[in-house]
């Protein structure tokens, strides 16, 4: 409940920032380290010519989210830390359209922005306080709190749980 309220407040603030960002695209800080996530397409904020680029610090700066859950790909319960998907979308000024997420291994999945905003997914960069390496499905992995809600225990959400994530393209078609 409390987290919902927080999230609402944060989202509101970020939405305001994002609106501001539309006018002042340069306000999205440019990455200093290795770029691990590239967001392209119809986005409201960028920090390069057509894309919003994020290094680990850039993602961490957006605000951390964390939950503990079991997954079908790991052993036992694990605590995942990352940036909320909704927060990221807000940060790049996305309100509608479709998310097209692609992995290093070219695995790709699409889903509506509306659902991404509403769901509790995070783009995890840490598992149990340790940064995800590429050999542990890193550097980024979209994870849902599967244990909290049975709706996440479905093949749809399993397919959206994309690991080795490195690109997101937003298309305006719903």
């Amino acid at each position: 409940m409390l987290s919902t309220v927080y999230r609402f407040i944060i989202q509101s603030i970020l939405a305001t920032l994002a609106l501001a960002g539309t006018a002042l695209a340069s306000e999205l800080p440019a990455p200093k380290g290795d770029v691990i996530l590239t967001v392209t397409g119809s986005i409201g904020a960028t920090n390069s010519e057509t894309a919003a680029l994020f290094d680990l610090a850039g993602l961490q700066d957006l605000g951390q989210s964390e939950f503990t859950t079991s997954t079908i790909w790991t052993d036992g319960e694990n605590t995942f830390t990352g940036v909320s998907l909704a927060t990221l979308l807000n940060a790049v000024g996305v309100e509608t359209g479709t998310v097209n997420a692609t992995a290093i291994n070219d695995y790709s999945v699409t889903f509506p922005v509306a659902e991404a905003l509403a769901d509790d997914a995070i783009i995890a960069y840490e598992m149990n306080g340790k940064q995800l390496s590429m050999r542990e499905k890193g550097p980024l992995w979209i994870v849902y709190p599967y244990d909290d809600d049975n709706k996440y225990k479905s093949e749809t959400y399993y397919s959206r749980s994309i690991w080795h994530l490195d690109r997101i393209e937003i298309t305006s078609q719903p």
Binding site: W73, D75, S154
Partner: protein
């Protein structure tokens, strides 16, 4: 009676729904059981415990080949970038790790062949990971070896994915079969349950039909009953056990003058019980409630006084019965207003009393009158007797003879009337004695022979034995005989009158029959002839003199002697009169008694006049005429008479 409908319901009908209910419960339990199974299976389906397993496994091979390709292109003359090699290795590493750890592959990993394949993959990764992590030069130097190793490991990746396909399709088939079996079971049970429900519907509808029929019957019974109650001519009143009026029909309204609304709910004691019976009524009710004893309930009809609205008390006939009502016992009363009947009854009784009194005074009048007539008549006859002994002309003697005959006839008629009136007034005296009936009859025959001859009839006695002793009143028996014989002679010309006697077998009665072959009696008149003042025959009516009292007297005497009598007759053939009288004694009887009685009978019968010498006689007689006549007769015989009016005059 409508109450008793359910007992006739067969028991099995009552048990059947219970039985079906048990079966239904069992089936529902089974369905619930399978339902839970289905729910579990649905739950499993709802929360997929795997993503696309086949894709993941084939992806392992794809990623292995992608790594191989990247390594080969790095090995080529162009000396491709090593970053791609490293990335592809890491992707592959992640994939294989997922296969090793992922929950959805655990069942596959427990099989030996896939486990071996996976182990080979793991060893391939572990062998090459240090090389991939080393600097570019070392990696590039080992690229050829890595390619060879990857080529060798390729078979393991492929094997694992093929084994997975066969394993997971087996699992899927199994679970599909399980689901379909469960669904089939549920379908069967549902069908069974449906059939049971159909059966229940049939049973319930039949029960419903029965109940409806019963309800209809009850309604009919009820309306019939209410029609009976409302049309009853008797008042019907139903009272609760605490005395309040529950039902008051139309006849009750008419009889008591109350309307139904006036009395329903009122206490019966205040409404129809007359004041003088109220205490008794309340006491009776109380007694009934304490120990159930009652003088009236269920005791049939009885008379009691009841009260109308106007306060009039009237006689009523009442019958009370108890029945079971909704709130305990109720009393059902039928009440009939019998004031008219009682009035009629009283009228009738008064009329009877009046008639009896009239009858009695008539008889008394007759007795007195007869006596008053007889006394002067005796005076006339006596004087005529005296006159006949005086010197008379022939013409005077003739006239005197006519007068004497008329006088005697009148006397006999008066005697008859006197007899009847005495009998009617209950004054007839019966003096029983033992006598020979045959002798008595012979005497009658002797005395009536002349009379019979005058109508050219033979009078015969056909006795069965020389002597027939009976204990009876000889005077009355003689009277009976004289009347019957006289009658027979009267209605017979040139015929025969027969007297018969016969002791009746096996009874203490004897029968006397007087038979003639005269005119007979028409059947329609048979009953009448025993009535008083009856003279039937018109043909002989003129010739046969009589008051018509003869048979009436016989009937009264026979009754007084505890006997019976009757007649058989046919017109033109004659009549048979029979009289049955009690014998009154056993056959053994001392001859002494008989003789004594006979001598007495003789003395009373024959008025003998022995020669006596002249006497001095004091004669006391209050009637002057009698006194004169008697003294004249005695003087004619040569006696000396001193007359006195009464005892005092004698002195």
């Amino acid at each position: 009676m409508i109450k008793g409908l359910s007992p006739f319901l067969p028991r099995s009908t009552g048990r059947r729904p219970i039985f079906i209910g048990l079966i239904g419960t069992f089936i529902i339990t089974m369905i619930a059981h399978f339902g839970i199974g289905v729910r579990t299976q649905l739950h499993d389906l709802a929360t997929a415990n795997s993503d696309s397993i086949q894709w993941n496994m084939s992806q392992a091979e794809v990623e292995h080949l992608a790594f191989l390709l990247a390594t080969k292109s790095a090995l080529g003359p162009a000396e491709g970038p090593l970053d791609d090699v490293r990335r592809r290795f890491n992707v592959l590493y992640s994939r294989i790790s997922a296969l090793e750890v992922g929950e959805q592959y655990s069942s596959l990993r427990q099989l030996s062949a896939p486990a071996a394949s996976l182990d080979k993959m793991r060893r391939f990764l572990d062998r090459n990971a240090p090389l991939i992590d080393s600097d570019d030069a070392t990696l590039r130097a080992n690229l050829t070896a890595i390619v060879d190793d990857a080529l060798r490991a390729h078979a393991a990746v492929r094997d694992f994915s093929l084994q997975g396909i066969s394993h997971f399709s087996d699992l899927k088939d199994k679970s599909r079969r399980e689901i379909s079996r469960t669904l089939l079971s549920i379908a069967l049970l549902s069908a069974l349950l449906f059939l049971l429900l159909c059966l229940m519907v049939v049973i319930l509808s039949r029960l419903n039909t029965t109940n409806q029929r019963r309800a209809r019957q009850m309604e009919l019974d009820g309306s019939r009953l209410s029609a009976i109650v409302s049309t009853s001519l008797d008042a019907i009143m139903v009272v609760s056990s605490d005395g309040r009026v529950i039902e008051f029909n139309g006849a009750a309204e008419e009889i008591f003058g109350y309307s139904q609304a006036d009395v329903i709910g009122q206490n019966m004691a205040d409404v129809i019980v007359p004041d003088h019976l109220r205490d008794a009524h309340l006491a009776g009710m109380k007694r009934y409630h304490t120990d159930g004893s009652t003088n009236v309930i269920g005791k049939g009809r009885f008379r009691i006084d009841a009260k109308r609205k106007s306060g009039d008390v009237f006689p009523a006939e009442l019958s009370i019965q108890t029945a079971r009502g909704e709130d305990g016992e109720i009393f059902v009363s039928y009440i009939r207003d019998i004031s008219k009947e009682v009035a009629a009854e009283n009228e009738l009784r008064e009329a009877r009393d009046r008639a009896l009194a009239g009858e009695k005074s008539k008889a008394q009048l007759l007795a007195v009158m007869s006596h008053e007539i007889r006394t002067p008549l005796n005076g006339l006859l006596g004087t005529m007797e005296l006159l006949s002994q005086t010197d008379l002309t022939e013409q005077q003697t003739k006239y005197l003879g006519i007068m004497g005959k008329s006088g005697k006839l009148l006397l006999s008629h008066v005697n008859d009337v006197l007899d009847v009136s005495l009998l009617e007034a209950g004054h007839m005296e019966i003096k029983s004695s033992v006598f020979d009936l045959n002798k008595l009859i012979r005497d009658v025959v002797d005395s009536q022979s002349a009379n019979a001859k005058s109508n050219a009839n033979d009078l015969v006695f056909e006795g069965h034995a020389p002597e027939f002793l009976v204990n009876c009143d000889p005077v009355r028996v003689r009277q009976i005989l004289l009347n019957l014989v006289g009658n027979a002679i009267k209605f017979t010309r040139n015929g025969r009158v027969t007297i018969e006697t016969e002791p009746l077998e096996h009874s203490a009665y004897y029968e006397i029959r007087v038979i003639d072959d005269g005119v007979g009696i028409p059947e329609e008149n048979i009953e009448k002839i025993f009535e008083d003042f009856i003279t039937l025959d018109s043909t002989f009516g003129r010739k046969s003199e009589g008051t018509g009292l003869g048979l009436g007297i016989v009937r009264r005497i026979v009754d007084a002697l505890d006997g019976s009598m009757g007649v058989a007759s046919e017109v033109g053939q004659g009549s048979l009169f029979w009289v049955r009288l009690p014998i009154g004694l056993t056959q053994e009887v001392s001859s002494q008694t008989v003789e004594a009685t006979e001598s007495h009978a003789q003395s009373s019968e024959q008025v003998a006049c022995p020669e006596v010498k002249p006497l001095d006689i004091l004669m006391v007689e209050d009637n002057e005429i009698n006194r004169v006549i008697a003294s004249e007769f005695m003087a004619l015989d040569g006696h000396n008479i001193v007359l006195a009016h009464d005892g005092r005059a004698c002195a």
